[in-house]
């Protein structure tokens, strides 16, 4: 009798386990294979692949799209990357607003919406992230993949016992071998993540990039937040951008200088290993805070969280937060304004090699109209304007 009971119990658990595997498997598969449509603006003159600059990355999951905006007039070259950490959606959405609205009047812009595609195909284990989120528009909702901080282990595994950064030899956490912002300047024969950085460095060199910008978000408990992290070659530019944003656009954006002995980060290595001025922008994202409450799409997009507010009242945060939270429009708007302001200050410094972009909404416009206002309808768009991310 007891044996029979054990068999029945085991059978039930096996069946339940199989059900979980089937339904969860479908969710994981759908997440990994969901293609986001990008309705490119006429300002996008060409869509290249990262593999065009380094064949080692061709055909891999990280062979991401590179949107090229050729200006009407000659000027400088700029590279902006979103999605280094796809768990920080404001960077990717800001890149979307450029791809779907931007047009270069002078200079040339290169744009990656999802610099680490692999990391955008999975979510953080134990983090309970939603697999996707949607932005409301006048024509319905546009859905986007939520991602992780690290490349998907399906694409790069196992991790080493200790990750030793190339070429500095600095010891880093083993998991950071899959962190795109710890593997710069990359390695030709390295891991997928290292090769991705290497490919971007090849792009930077071959296209003679003058200014490089890496878009991020950070938890409020992290000291490097609401700031521009600048390589020493971009200190002056960053300082002026910070001052102008604070004065003209009404939001505070600090400046921090890239530590010389902290390796693998884009603001350090791109500046050290190329001629490009290297900057990294950080916006606040309460969703990443360990003290956050419910892990939901709503929290991700509104940035409202009573627990994080409570942590702030006890002086545990490096950025302010109240009951209004940090809505996605505010975070995206900070990035678009900061990029545009960088172009403007650059153009003032180098009037013979300007960077002038039109059509991209700034901070106040994004807050007023919402992110969705600036996204185009894939259904009514010309097929040749749609690119899959």
């Amino acid at each position: 009798m007891r044996d029979k009971f054990i068999v029945i119990r085991k059978t039930i658990f096996i069946l339940l386990g199989m059900l979980v595997i089937i339904f969860a498997g479908k969710s994981f598969y759908d997440h990994r294979n969901f293609n986001e449509p990008v309705v490119t603006n006429e300002g996008v003159t060409e869509v290249k692949k990262l593999g065009d600059y380094f064949t080692g990355i061709s055909g891999t999951i990280n062979d991401c799209n590179i949107y090229v905006f050729e200006g009407e007039e000659e000027g400088s070259n700029m590279l902006v990357i979103g999605g280094t950490h796809p768990e920080e959606p404001a960077g990717r959405l800001a890149a979307y607003l450029f791809a779907e609205n931007g047009k270069m009047k002078a200079g040339k812009l290169f744009l990656a919406i999802t610099a680490n595609r692999s990391a955008s195909t999975g979510t953080k284990l134990g983090g309970a992230y939603p697999p996707d989120f949607s932005i409301k528009t006048s024509f319905g909702e546009r859905k986007f993949r939520m991602g992780d901080r690290w490349s998907n282990p399906l694409d790069q595994w196992p991790d080493p016992e200790v990750y030793i950064h190339y070429p500095s030899g600095q010891n880093l956490a083993y998991v950071d071998t899959r962190n795109l912002n710890r593997t710069w300047p990359g390695r030709e024969n390295g891991t997928l993540t290292e090769q991705t950085c290497y490919a971007f460095m090849e792009l930077i060199k071959k296209e003679k990039i003058d200014v490089f910008i890496d878009l991020h978000e950070a938890e409020l408990q992290y000291p490097v937040i609401s700031t521009i992290v600048a390589h020493e070659n971009g200190e002056e530019l960053a300082t002026f951008v910070s001052m102008m944003l604070t004065d003209m656009e009404g939001f505070r954006m600090g400046v921090e200088f890239s530590p010389k002995n902290l390796h693998g980060l884009s603001h350090r290595e791109v500046g050290d290993y190329s001629d490009a001025v290297s900057l990294l922008f950080e916006a606040p994202e309460p969703f990443l805070d360990a003290t956050r409450g419910t892990t939901s799409r709503e929290q991700l997009l509104t940035g409202k969280d009573e627990f994080v507010v409570m942590a702030g009242k006890h002086g545990l945060l490096f950025e302010q937060i109240d009951e209004n939270g940090w809505p996605i429009a505010k975070r995206v708007g900070r990035h678009t304004s900061a990029i545009l302001m960088t172009m403007e200050i650059w153009s003032e410094d180098y009037p013979d090699r300007p960077l002038i972009c039109e059509g991209v909404p700034r901070y106040e416009e994004v807050i007023e109209n919402g992110v969705g206002y600036y996204l185009n309808d894939p259904k009514s768009a010309l097929k040749n304007r749609i690119v899959l991310e």
């Binding site: 983090g127 901080r149 080493p160 200790v162 190339y166 950071d176 390695r187 408990q221 419910t294």
Partner: protein
């Protein structure tokens, strides 16, 4: 309803379901699973398979390390390597009590340090060391207490310390710089325990001990024992010194290669399939625990319960936190086992980091205290295992009483490490 009240209700329901499950004698793993199911339903998320699956594989890498390291240790045991080492130590040093106690401490520390599991220490070396200690005139109660506490400290010792690894992962902190902060107090605590409980006793009766100890194969030698360890540390060295020209092996494969070396140099034929089956059977409860803990933590994160615990902890007065560490940590271990690390450890490390303490030293101090909870009900997994392996005749509470004195010393050491973590930050250099 505000977020605090709602999440407190969800937490209350999860705790209630856990308690009811335990009352109905459901295993700790299933109790945690049912608690997670209740939390997901109460939080309004229904039962989304994605979160349960994602939680279940959260500690997949750690499970793989666990399995392969234990497999290696079991092959070493089957080859007669452990028996050889114990007999050799006994025959050479039986007249030197201090030396034997020190060497037995080392033998107990190695399996747990390499695998991260105190139970592996108990199963691999516990039986043989208990024979030696018993014949040195140490009572079975004291022997069991020694093996349990040293096994716990071996699990906290580097290179693999699950509490430190899981907590560090929870706060995005690299598991680097932990070697000395974990090694020094764990070795010190183990030696103190061994000498405190094992110092008094009669002269060792070597003949009787030899009769009870398994006989290793004739051709077994120190070289054959050392070889798989040399291969293991050679692979570590290769990754560290030739990182750009050697393949990434990963700890699980390193342990498998070390196990294969042990298998091929073994003087006796080892039934490899039997050993692998036994290894999985032996580890199934622990793998189950890590899987259930992963699911529980995922659902706690989803529903905001983890955030509630985190924000409550980080806003407590620091003096209160220091004052309650010594019983909160073992208690949380007794209830959640390794789940205590991500649930309680993460907010504590956040707090310590915020107030300027050294999070690595503080976490190392906490990692020393956690394993003490493995003797406490409701789980008492390793405590009961030790009592069985040693063959203690007295009651379980008598065993617990014997553990009290060394446990207090370890709790004090761990708490002092947390309080003075900033002053001890030089230990993180390696």
């Amino acid at each position: 309803m505000d977020m605090f009240s709602f999440t407190e209700i969800v937490l209350g329901i999860m705790v209630l379901v856990y308690i009811v499950s335990k009352v109905f004698r459901v295993s700790t793993e299933l109790s945690m699973f049912f608690s997670a199911v209740a939390g997901s339903l109460a939080g309004g998320f229904g039962l989304q398979p994605r979160y349960f699956a994602e939680g279940a594989i959260t500690y997949l890498d750690i499970n793989l390390i666990f399995i392969t390291a234990t497999f290696f240790m079991n092959i070493l045991k089957e080859s007669g390597g452990v028996a050889f080492a114990v007999r050799e130590i006994l025959s050479r040093f039986h007249n030197h009590r201090i030396l034997i106690l020190v060497l037995m401490t080392i033998i107990l520390l190695v399996p747990g340090a390499l695998t991260g599991a105190g139970s592996v220490t108990v199963l691999i070396a516990g039986g043989m060391v208990s024979v030696v200690l018993n014949h040195m005139g140490i009572t079975k109660l004291k022997t069991a207490a020694i093996i349990f506490i040293v096994a716990g400290l071996s699990a906290a010792a580097p290179p693999v310390s699950l509490w430190a690894m899981m907590t560090a992962a929870g706060v995005n902190m690299p598991y680097i710089g932990f070697f000395l902060p974990l090694l020094i107090p764990c070795v010190l605590g183990a030696l103190i325990t061994m000498f405190l409980l094992g110092w008094k006793g009669e002269k060792s009766n070597i003949e009787e001990a030899f009769e009870e100890l398994p006989i290793p194969p004739e051709r077994m030698s120190w070289i054959l024992i050392a070889l798989p360890f040399l291969v293991f540390f050679g692979l570590i060295a290769m990754g560290r010194f030739l990182p750009y020209s050697s393949p990434i092996v990963g700890l699980p494969l390193m342990f498998l290669i070390a196990g294969a070396t042990s298998y091929f140099v073994s003087p006796t034929k080892i039934k490899i399939l039997q050993v692998s089956r036994d290894t999985i059977k032996q580890l199934l409860p622990l793998i189950g625990t890590l899987t259930a803990v992963g699911i529980l933590v995922e659902i706690m994160t989803l529903t905001g319960v983890r955030g509630l615990l985190a924000v409550t902890t980080v806003t407590l007065p620091v003096s209160v936190v220091f004052g309650i560490l010594f019983f909160v940590l073992p208690l949380s271990e007794a209830v959640l086992m390794w789940g205590a690390a991500p649930v309680i450890g993460v907010p504590l490390v956040l707090l310590f980091n915020t107030i300027g303490l050294n999070p690595i030293i503080a976490l190392a101090g906490m990692s020393m205290i956690w394993p003490l909870g493995d003797a406490l009900p409701p789980t008492a997994l390793i405590g009961r295992l030790t009592v069985d392996v040693v063959g203690v005749d007295e009651s379980y509470s008598a065993f617990l009483r014997t553990c009290i004195l060394p446990s207090i010393i370890i709790m004090v050491m761990g708490t002092l490490m947390v309080i003075f973590s900033s002053q001890l930050d030089f230990l993180t250099a390696f």
